[in-house]
Structure formats: structure tokens, C-alpha cells
């Protein structure tokens, strides 16, 4: 089915429509990597449905097949949960800045018809400030000396209520999103708040974690992974979860995002036997002056030290458009055609690397997308 989609796209790329005559042709094409994704962030800025759908179209034109929907984060919680309606009631920017169950279903179906999987990301235990507005006692209260300071930190890993909540929430998420995988986040967990909280400190002692809060983080992540597993979903996690030695199921997908020495990280992840996807060199929100698409195009994902077997564990990558400075007013021109360079790198053969040729084809493709 996806093949039919792609072949139709290839036809349009060959200007096959309207009153054109074509010789009987046989086109045989297939992607190099199976996971070719775009990350959209709908927490830092709400993205109206229309904007998401337009980008699903653009993704299809570029043979992307995964929408990594980073749907909630610190700043806002636009996902309207049936089990916990207060999450978006209190956590969204406003009642108008939510995705209803109907909206979500629309995105999933629109994507499906274009051969695009939707992998939602509910990032915890960090990046959850907006969750605390609608779910009391979910986040860790930070302390200033002996007293609560009034601010909150990551999800509180020491309470049973936390895991009851997560179990119910992920049960809903597992049924709402049909893909086999859910992205569980796990990045950038700041330990300051945990370190300040006396109950957390007690718990650390009791568990024998010493002062190694990475162990507490892993304790939490472990339990979430088990919960999600029990719903028969696979999971994708950011690299910290692997780096901090959490115990992962063999079919976990680790997303490598830290730019510093990412080739080395790919080696480590695949050497440990985990599947990897690469995002690090493709943070398209990092804009700069000039033709930066060439920088994205020149990435060779398999340029890392490792065996053939290891290299087969790199299943693809994602172009990420984080939303701090992006919303519907500038998303489309910022994403396209820069992401097209990533799209070709993930689809085409390894030896398709000539920049001048790519420029010619990419500018034509851009005009085609305008049409």
C-alpha cells in the first residue's frame, strides 16, 4: 500500500499528469531506511490541525513515513485525555488550544492514508511542568531548606499514585494511538528538585541508591517501561534512558539526539544490541543563515564504528522541528524543503551524494511542492 503511494509520488516527480504522454515505464524503488520521521512539537506552541495536516501532505511528498508527535511538554498540555480531562483543562494554553479525541483520530487517519505512522511522545519524568496543573501530587514538590518552595520538578517517582496514574494514562494512550510504538521520552531530567525533597532523599536511602539520582531516574523509567510493555506496546526512548543504564527490553528503540559525538553514541547503542534512530544532526529548529540543507544532506548515518550487524540496527532517523520559536506562522517554510534533504538521505541509496545534482533536483522539488 505504501508502495503505491510512493510510486504515485515518483510519477508526479516525473511530471506525469494532465495531458502528458508517457512511455510505458517500470519504476522500481525502495527506501534505504525503514524509519523516516519528522518530529513536530505541539507543546511549546499549539499547532492548529490544518497546519499538522498540511505537513502530513508535505511529508508524503517527501516519502517520510513517521510523524513523531511530541504532543505535550513543560509549557502546555494540549492532549485532551478521556481518563484525565483536567490535564488539558488546566494544562493547555486555553480551551481553544487542545486536541480533542476527534482531532487526534483525524490526524491518525489522515496520516494512515498517506502511509505515515503516528508515534506519540508522552515525555516523562522531565518535561512535565504542564502535567502538574491538572494532576495534583504528580510532580515532585521542590524544597527550599525545610519548606516546600512552591515550585515543582519532574514526576515524583516515589509515590504509588504516580504509577497508578501512569498505568491508566498509558492504557488510554495505547488504545488511542494504534502504532506498535509509543515514545516515552526520558530526556533531560534535572535532579535538583529531587535532591531537595526530604521524602525523596529518604526513598533513595531506603532503596540503597546512595546519592546516585540516575538510579532513581532508572527506577522510574523501568516501571514505566513495564507498564507500557504490559499493554503490548513497544517503546522509543531518548538516549539518556540508555546512557543511564536503565534495563530495557530488547526491542527498545533508542533515539540519539545529542549532537556531541553522536557517531560514538550510535556505536554504543547498537553494540549493546538495541535498535537506534538518529536525530542528532537533524535538528532543523537550529536555523542559520544560508543553505544549511547541504549540512543535513551530507550526513551519512552509518558512519560510525561498528560491525555489519550493528549497522543493521540503525533503522532510520528523524528531522526534528522543536517548537520554541516555531508555530503555524513559520512552520512550513522552516521545515520545507530543508527536511527534504533528510528525506532523501533516509530513502536514497548511500551513493546518492552529489550536492550540485541534489540542488538542481531539490529546487525543482520545491517548486513542485509550491504547486
Amino acid at each position: 500500500m505504501e508502495g503505491l503511494n510512493f510510486s504515485l509520488n515518483t510519477f508526479s516527480e516525473n511530471n506525469v499528469w494532465k495531458a502528458f504522454l508517457i512511455n510505458e515505464s517500470e519504476i522500481y524503488d525502495f527506501p534505504r531506511f525503514a524509519h523516516r520521521g519528522i518530529l513536530l512539537d505541539t507543546s511549546r506552541h499549539y499547532l492548529p490541525l490544518k497546519s499538522i495536516l498540511t505537513n502530513l501532505d508535505a511529508m508524503a511528498f517527501n516519502k517520510f513515513n513517521v510523524l513523531h508527535w511530541h504532543i505535550v511538554d513543560d509549557q502546555s498540555f494540549p492532549y485532551q485525555s478521556v481518563s484525565f480531562p483536567e490535564l488539558s483543562n488546566k494544562g493547555a494554553y486555553s480551551y481553544n488550544h487542545v486536541y480533542t479525541p476527534t482531532d487526534v483520530r483525524l490526524v491518525i487517519e489522515y496520516a494512515r492514508l498517506r502511509g505515515i505512522r503516528v508515534i506519540p511522545e508522552f515525555d516523562t519524568p522531565g518535561h512535565t511542568q504542564s502535567w502538574g496543573k491538572g494532576q495534583k501530587d504528580l510532580l515532585t514538590p521542590c524544597y527550599s531548606g525545610e519548606q516546600p518552595s512552591g515550585s515543582f520538578g519532574p514526576v515524583n517517582p516515589i509515590l504509588n499514585s504516580t504509577y497508578d496514574f501512569m498505568a491508566t494514562l498509558f492504557k488510554e494512550i495505547s488504545s488511542v494511538f494504534p502504532d506498535a510504538y509509543i515514545h516515552l521520552g526520558g530526556d533531560e531530567v534535572s535532579f535538583n528538585c529531587w535532591e531537595s525533597n526530604p521524602e525523596v532523599k529518604d526513598f533513595m536511602k531506603k532503596q540503597g541508591f546512595g546519592i546516585d539520582y540516575a538510579k532513581l531516574e532508572s527506577y522510574y523509567v523501568q516501571k514505566i517501561l513495564d507498564i507500557v510493555s504490559s499493554y503490548n506496546k513497544g517503546y522509543v526512548v531518548w538516549q539518556e534512558v540508555f546512557d543511564n543504564n536503565a534495563e530495557l527490553k530488547p526491542d527498545t528503540v533508542v533515539e540519539v539526539w545529542m549532537a556531541n559525538n553522536y557517531a560514538h553514541e550510535l556505536s554504543r547503542v547498537t553494540r549493546a544490541g538495541y535498535t537506534a534512530i538518529l536525530a542528532a544532526p537533524w535538528y532543523l529548529d537550529y536555523i542559520s543563515y544560508g543553505q544549511d540543507w547541504t549540512k543535513y544532506y551530507r550526513v551519512e548515518p552509518l558512519n560510525f564504528p561498528g560491525s555489519e550487524k550493528q549497522k543493521r540496527l540503525l533503522i532510520g532517523g528523524e528531522a526534528c522541528l522543536w517548537g520554541e520559536y516555531v508555530d503555524a506562522t513559520n512552520l512550513t517554510p522552516r521545515l520545507w524543503p530543508r527536511a527534504s534533504a533528510v528525506g532523501e538521505r533516509l530513502w536514497s541509496s548511500k551513493n546518492v551524494t552529489n550536492l550540485q545534482d541534489a540542488y538542481r533536483r531539490l529546487s525543482n522539488h520545491r517548486c513542485r511542492m509550491l504547486r
Binding site: H45, Y46, P48, S51, I287, Y289, G323, Y325, T329, P333
Partner: protein, 426 residues
């Protein structure tokens, strides 16, 4: 509740063109709702006052710090449809910017339809049918701008930046040589032929009549000498004129004649800083446009004003140079008068321009790239020098951005957050 709104302006009459000396003071008393205001003055800011808002009786007195508050658009690197230019003029008005610097032609394309030399756009536009500005288009822009208090200053940049002029004006550009033979490529305008100056005279005669502003921008930047150096006729000319090996002398020779031609047409001129830097003799009322960052631009501002010329600042305001994060802050924190000089010198700084060069910009990304970032420049040029608190500016600029969205302008966000009316939303 305010039942009446009175807006008074210092000089009556809306029939002329705005100019550098226009008095832009205004004060408003909440007294009388004038229903006889010309329709064009009913911009959204006024119309929002009509609809069920209550305001206390208020007196507002306001005036700009600098008289020249400009925005440069480049319609040569990419053609900009008329609608895009008109929308930009609207938003300029919301930001109290009052000069549209129209960098209309350059190397890549010549979209200006000249009635004296129709071949220029026929041969030089990206596409002569679809990517041109007709005489009517140009008049539309000038009138649309006028009704918003915006001057249109056209830039016909020479002798460099003229590759697109070549196809429609054979013999105008310098043929480059590879050894003894023409290489097939061309360089800047050929300064050694009389035909060049006849052409220039006729063209600028037309330009002077088409564009009503007193000033024309003559460019004069980034003249590459390589082609001139390769051309045997030019080498002969250099010797004849006693210029030796100094091609800046040849450049100045051309510019001098150009300036004299334009003067004789009764126009004043603005030039990029190279014209001043290369010691060309310019008229006292010339405006020098400071854009380079190799020297700290403050030094150039000092030099230009010390020599007694008026200065226009753009160097720190190249909005086409995008980067990650809140770069509006750097634009906002510029202080145009921060250079070593006397008060008399500082009085010669007439303002500045935010520039949106077009190498990577066309109608698909123009508006979000311009706004609200250019608003930071606009405030710096309008408001008092003491208005510089970044936190306060952030709050006001973010609100203003939401207001732009409400008016249908595709302005991008400053940082995380939301507006009640999102673009492409409900």
C-alpha cells in the same frame, strides 16, 4: 465611555507626498469621533477603538526620535508579488516605519518595466510575463505607501550588481577577458563609454519622474574590479586618465558622473558607504548608508558624520541574517548614536533601515521572517533612547505580535506561548 475621538495632526491636507522633513507629531484627545475621516485613515488601530471599547479621556502626544525609519525589500533575488509588498506596507504602518527602500533590481533579475528601455525587463526579468512590476504596479505601490505616510525610495544599484541589466542593454556591461579574448562573461557597468552615460541619463530621467521622492538610492556597493582589470580597453583608459593601477579611481569616475546626472535631474541621492569610503566627491546633502561590519560600524558612523554627511544605519539590522533564538533582542539593543562624536555629528544621523535581502527570502517566508523582528528596529528608531528595557519590550512585542495575528499578518512567535487567535486556527 469615550463617545468621541479626536485625532489632530500638525499639518492639514493629505494630498501631497511624505518626505524626510514631514512633521510626524500627533496628539489625540478623546473628545470627538470624526466620521469624516478619510476611509484610508481608518486603519485597524482606529477601527478597534470604534467597537464597544471604553477608554478614558486621554491625551497622547507622540513623535519619532529619528525621521528616517526604513525597511529594505529586495525584489531581484526573488520576485515579490504586489500583494506581498502591499501587505508589508500595511505592517510597516502599524510599526510606524515610514520609508520603503525598494531594492528593485540587481544581478539575478530586472523586474522593473521601463518604458524608455522595455528590453531591460523583457530580457532581464526571471519571466517577462509574470515576474515584472508594470508602471501601474509601481504607481500602486507608491500610492498605497503614500496613504500610509510611507516614502518610497527606489534603488537602482550601479555600477556593480547589474548583471541582469546586460541582456536588455547590449554594450552596457564590461565584457570580461580571458587573455586576449572575451570570456563570454560580464562585469560591472562599463565606465569608459559615452553610450553608458547616455543610457544612464535616460534611465534616471525616467526613474526621477516615476518615483516622486526627492531621494533616489544609487547603490555603489561591492564593485568587483576583476573584470575591469581583464579588459584591454579599460586598461587603455586607465592609462589615459592617469589612474595607474587604482581601480577605485575608475569606480569614482563613474559614480561622480552618475551623481552629477542625477543632481541635474533635481534629485538628491543616497549611496552605500563604499562611495564615501572611496573618497568620491558627493553633494553635501548626500545620505551615506552604513551597512558594513568589517570596521565596527560605529567607527564608520563617526567618520561619515565627521565629514559632515548625513548617515543612515543598517549594519546591525540585516534581518535576512537569521540565527537560532531571540535575535530581535540584539536588534533592539543597538544604539544608533553610540559613537564618538559631537552633538552636531549625532544630529546628522537621520535614522536607519532594517534590511531583508532576498537570497533566501520570497513570499513563502517573507512575512514571518520580517515580523515581529523588524518591530524591534522600528521601536529603536521611533522611541526615546531611554526605552530599552528588554523584559518590558518582550511583553509589549509579544502582545503586538498577537495583535498582528489578529489582523491577519503571518508574524512568527518570539518564544514559547500562545495567542488567543492563532494563525491558521479557529
Amino acid at each position: 465611555s469615550c463617545t468621541e475621538l479626536l485625532i489632530s495632526v500638525a499639518t492639514p491636507g493629505c494630498n501631497g507626498f511624505p518626505n524626510l522633513e514631514s512633521k510626524e507629531n500627533y496628539d489625540s484627545d478623546c473628545l470627538l469621533l470624526i466620521s469624516v475621516l478619510p476611509a484610508d485613515l481608518l486603519t485597524s488601530s482606529l477601527s478597534s477603538l470604534f467597537m464597544q471599547y471604553y477608554i478614558n479621556e486621554t491625551e497622547i502626544v507622540d513623535f519619532p526620535r529619528f525621521p528616517h525609519r526604513g525597511l529594505l525589500l529586495d525584489t531581484s533575488r526573488h520576485y515579490l508579488p504586489l500583494k506581498a509588498i502591499l501587505e508589508t506596507l500595511d505592517v510597516m504602518a502599524y510599526n510606524k516605519l515610514n520609508v520603503f527602500h525598494w531594492h528593485i533590481v540587481d544581478d539575478p533579475s530586472f523586474p522593473y518595466e521601463s518604458f524608455t528601455f522595455p528590453e531591460l525587463s523583457k530580457q532581464g526579468a526571471f519571466s517577462a510575463m509574470t515576474h515584472v512590476y508594470t508602471a501601474s504596479d509601481v504607481q500602486t505601490v507608491i500610492e498605497y505607501a503614500r496613504l500610509r505616510g510611507i516614502r518610497v525610495i527606489a534603488e537602482f544599484d550601479t555600477p556593480g550588481h547589474t548583471l541582469s541589466w546586460g541582456p536588455g542593454a547590449p554594450g552596457l556591461l564590461t565584457p570580461c577577458y580571458l587573455g586576449k579574448d572575451p570570456s563570454g562573461t560580464y562585469g560591472p557597468i562599463n565606465p569608459i563609454f559615452n553610450s553608458t552615460y547616455q543610457f544612464v541619463t535616460s534611465l534616471f530621467q525616467e526613474i526621477s519622474s516615476v518615483f516622486p521622492d526627492y531621494f533616489i538610492h544609487l547603490g555603489g556597493d561591492e564593485v568587483d574590479f576583476t573584470c575591469w582589470k581583464s579588459n584591454p580597453d579599460i586598461l587603455v583608459f586607465m592609462k589615459k586618465m592617469g589612474f595607474g593601477e587604482d581601480y577605485t579611481k575608475l569606480e569614482s569616475y563613474y559614480i561622480q558622473r552618475l551623481l552629477d546626472i542625477v543632481s541635474s535631474l533635481g534629485k538628491g541621492y543616497m549611496v552605500w558607504q563604499e562611495v564615501f569610503d572611496n573618497g568620491v566627491k558627493v553633494r553635501p546633502d548626500t545620505i551615506i548608508h552604513v551597512w558594513k561590519n568589517n570596521l565596527p560600524y560605529a567607527e564608520e558612523m563617526a567618520n561619515v558624520t565627521k565629514a559632515g554627511y548625513r548617515a543612515l544605519l543598517s549594519a546591525p539590522w540585516y534581518l535576512n541574517r537569521i540565527s537560532y533564538g531571540q535575535d530581535w533582542m540584539a536588534a533592539y539593543q543597538v544604539e544608533p548614536l553610540k559613537f564618538t562624536g559631537s552633538t552636531k555629528q549625532k544630529d546628522l544621523v537621520i535614522g536607519g533601515e532594517a534590511c531583508m535581502w532576498g537570497e533566501y527570502v520570497d513570499v513563502t517566508n517573507l512575512t514571518p521572517r520580517l515580523w515581529p523582528r523588524a518591530g524591534a528596529v522600528a521601536e529603536r528608531l521611533w522611541s526615546n533612547a531611554t526605552v530599552r528595557n528588554l523584559q518590558d519590550a518582550y511583553v509589549r512585542l509579544a502582545d503586538f505580535r498577537c495583535e498582528l495575528l489578529r489582523r491577519g499578518v503571518q508574524a512568527e512567535p518570539l518564544f514559547t506561548g500562545y495567542c488567543d487567535h492563532e494563525f491558521g486556527g479557529f
